[in-house]
């Protein structure tokens, strides 16, 4: 790339880059327009929203939709439930799959650990609908038809993917590091917590983001498992605007924005790890 020294070639390269950028920018409208529709609808008054002209800007800009969505969805409670489910799922998933992956990666020569790994990975191709009805039945029996049950299932359904990423990553760490700690008399558990787990930082971030998005955005599992409607999550609650308030578009869209805002913010802050995680092992 550095060899193109002549100014004319550099100018043509530059022009091409601008053309490509322009094409991609036009394509990005396909992503941005729905977001624009969502935002412009959310800030309208109810009167203007029922006109249904999505591309008109709000006049005047109104917070009415947000205020009503906040109350209708009982936002503080639902948000707390969603946040709790997501946070515990992320922490639980990271710990459980990191520990299991370390045991598997360092005992790969023992059949029990190797087969355990295949056993856990097998679920990657098991769609939730296949298990749904039995899981609803079971969770009802054992008193887990609530957010705790959803947390457990989120962790379990994420386990395969996370174990795959973590084992790949741990195998890439040189074993010599541990050998020296072992010579100094450290136990496997001590080695894991003080040496390996901190080294897994970048992969932990990736795993945490994927688990966070899957858990925060999930609609199917909470809608099936959680029996008490007052303990539902944000995506599930949005359904009420389709069923009961079908013409309150501004309130519906304000509520959607409130629900997706946190995941967008989390993503924008963490996006560099998504790419690095994928290149480090997602496909291996």
């Amino acid at each position: 790339m550095e060899r193109t020294t002549s100014p004319r070639r550099r100018a043509s390269r530059n022009a091409k880059a601008w053309v490509r950028t322009a094409i991609l920018a036009v394509c990005s409208l396909a992503v941005l327009l729905p977001f624009f529709v969502g935002i412009s609808m959310a800030f309208k008054t109810t009167d203007q929203a029922v006109e249904g002209q999505a591309f008109d800007l709000p006049r005047p800009w109104s917070m009415e939709g947000f205020r009503e969505a906040w109350e209708l969805t009982n936002f503080p409670t639902v948000f707390t439930v969603s946040l709790t489910i997501t946070a515990v799922s992320v922490v639980g998933s990271v710990l459980l799959s990191a520990m299991a992956s370390y045991a598997i990666a360092r005992n790969w020569h023992r059949p029990f650990f190797r087969f355990s790994c295949y056993y856990l990975l097998a679920a990657m191709f098991l769609p939730f609908p296949v298990l749904a009805l039995s899981q609803v039945k079971l969770s009802g029996y054992v008193g887990l038809a609530n957010p705790a049950g959803v947390i457990l299932l989120h962790i379990m359904f994420q386990l395969s993917f996370n174990v795959m990423l973590f084992t790949a990553f741990i195998r890439g760490l040189p074993e010599e590091l541990e050998e020296s700690a072992r010579v100094d008399g450290a136990s496997a558990s001590r080695i894991f917590w003080t040496l390996i787990f901190p080294l897994m930082g970048p992969m932990t971030a990736t795993v945490a983001i994927f688990t966070l998005l899957a858990s925060w955005n999930d609609f199917m599992m909470p809608s099936m498992i959680i029996a008490n409607p007052d303990m539902q999550t944000l995506p599930v609650v949005q359904k009420m605007f389709q069923e009961q308030f079908s013409n309150s578009y501004n309130i519906a869209f304000a509520s959607y924005l409130l629900a997706i805002g946190p995941s967008i913010i989390a993503y924008v802050f963490c996006q560099r790890w998504v790419m690095s995680g994928l290149t480090q092992g997602a496909l291996k």
């Binding site: 990005s28 729905p34 191709f125 098991l126 609908p129 296949v130 039995s134 379990m156 136990s187 496909l283």
Partner: protein, 308 residues
């Protein structure tokens, strides 16, 4: 990388005599403690319901109360039920159409986003956004766009065919489902393609352009063959994911109009409401066998050809 780095590393180790020594050493019990919680919970939450489902598929259970064993009756009914065959046909058709659309668009975007462009980080962030948002909410937003915005827009420019919502048309609603599913699924495929494309060295393209290759030739003769393993993975994983489509269909059409857009996942979920629990369990088992077949295909291919 796992599959090829692990053996290489062992081979390159200077003191290979250590390996057998290590194998003989007694295992620390703590390794079992690390693995067991995952194994036990996994068995209870995933394996047990799966076995339960298989068991109930041979009964006449309605989801509660007593039941009798009925052998393969549910399966026999399933395979001779025209509405069920239509649901399977619809689901597979949607999955195929979406896989094609997603991969073409994702590859095009990935090539654009890895080439020499301005504002690369910003553009990448924008194109990944759909992946970050809950599918059900995406479906609700598009439901509004298809049923209100587009007809109003079509009317204002006097374009007849679109003045009615395509979601209300049993023959066209699937198009909306494919478009919105693709809209949401493209970023993930695109990220995988970006990860693949950055591994192709620049000089391959430089050499080929010195030989006078056109951009199209570069795409079909260099880019696609070099990342064929990733294309396969994307196609198979995508197909498996789109088969169990649920959120987006619920949000867009809820299976309607009538039952024109009902997917396999939706009919399974209706098992409790309609009291045909055992029947839908048989449906789940069949559905699982289909995804299992895809999984085995995936493993064969990724071990054989892709090697990534």
């Amino acid at each position: 990388m796992t599959t090829d780095t692990a053996p290489t590393r062992t081979d390159q180790r200077p003191n290979r005599r250590l390996a057998p020594l290590r194998r003989r050493r007694r295992i620390e019990p703590v390794f079992y403690l690390f693995l067991l919680p995952a194994l036990v919970l996994f068995s209870l939450c995933i394996t047990l319901p799966a076995l339960m489902g298989i068991f109930y598929s041979f009964t006449d259970s309605v989801g509660f109360g007593g039941f009798h064993m009925v052998g393969f009756k549910n399966y026999a009914v399933l395979f001779s039920d025209p509405s069920m065959l239509r649901v399977y046909g619809f689901t597979i058709g949607i999955a195929l159409a979406t896989v094609v659309l997603v991969n073409v668009v994702a590859l095009f975007l990935a090539i654009g986003l890895t080439s020499n462009i301005k504002f690369r980080t910003l553009l990448r962030t924008v194109f990944v956004l759909p992946m970050v948002v809950s599918a059900i909410i995406i479906a609700f937003v598009f439901q509004f766009i298809f049923s209100t915005t587009l007809p109003a827009f079509a009317e204002s420019i006097g374009f007849g065919p679109l003045t009615d919502s395509i979601l209300a048309d049993p023959h066209l609603a699937w198009i909306a489902i494919v478009l919105v599913t693709a809209w949401q699924a493209t970023p993930q495929a695109m990220l995988i393609y970006i990860a693949a494309l950055v591994t192709i060295p620049d000089d391959v393209y430089e050499a080929s352009s010195l030989d006078g290759a056109s951009s199209w030739q570069q795409l079909t003769r260099i880019t696609v063959p070099m990342i064929s393993g990733y294309v396969l993975i994307n196609v198979i994983l995508g197909f498996k994911n789109f088969l169990s489509s649920y959120d987006i269909i619920v949000g867009l059409t809820d299976g309607g109009p009538g039952t024109a857009t009902r997917s396999v996942a939706m009919s399974i979920f209706k098992g409790f409401e309609t009291g045909d629990y055992a029947y839908q369990m048989a449906n789940s088992v069949v559905f699982f066998l289909i995804t299992l077949a895809i999984a085995l295909l995936h493993m064969r291919i990724s071990r054989g050809k892709a090697n990534i």
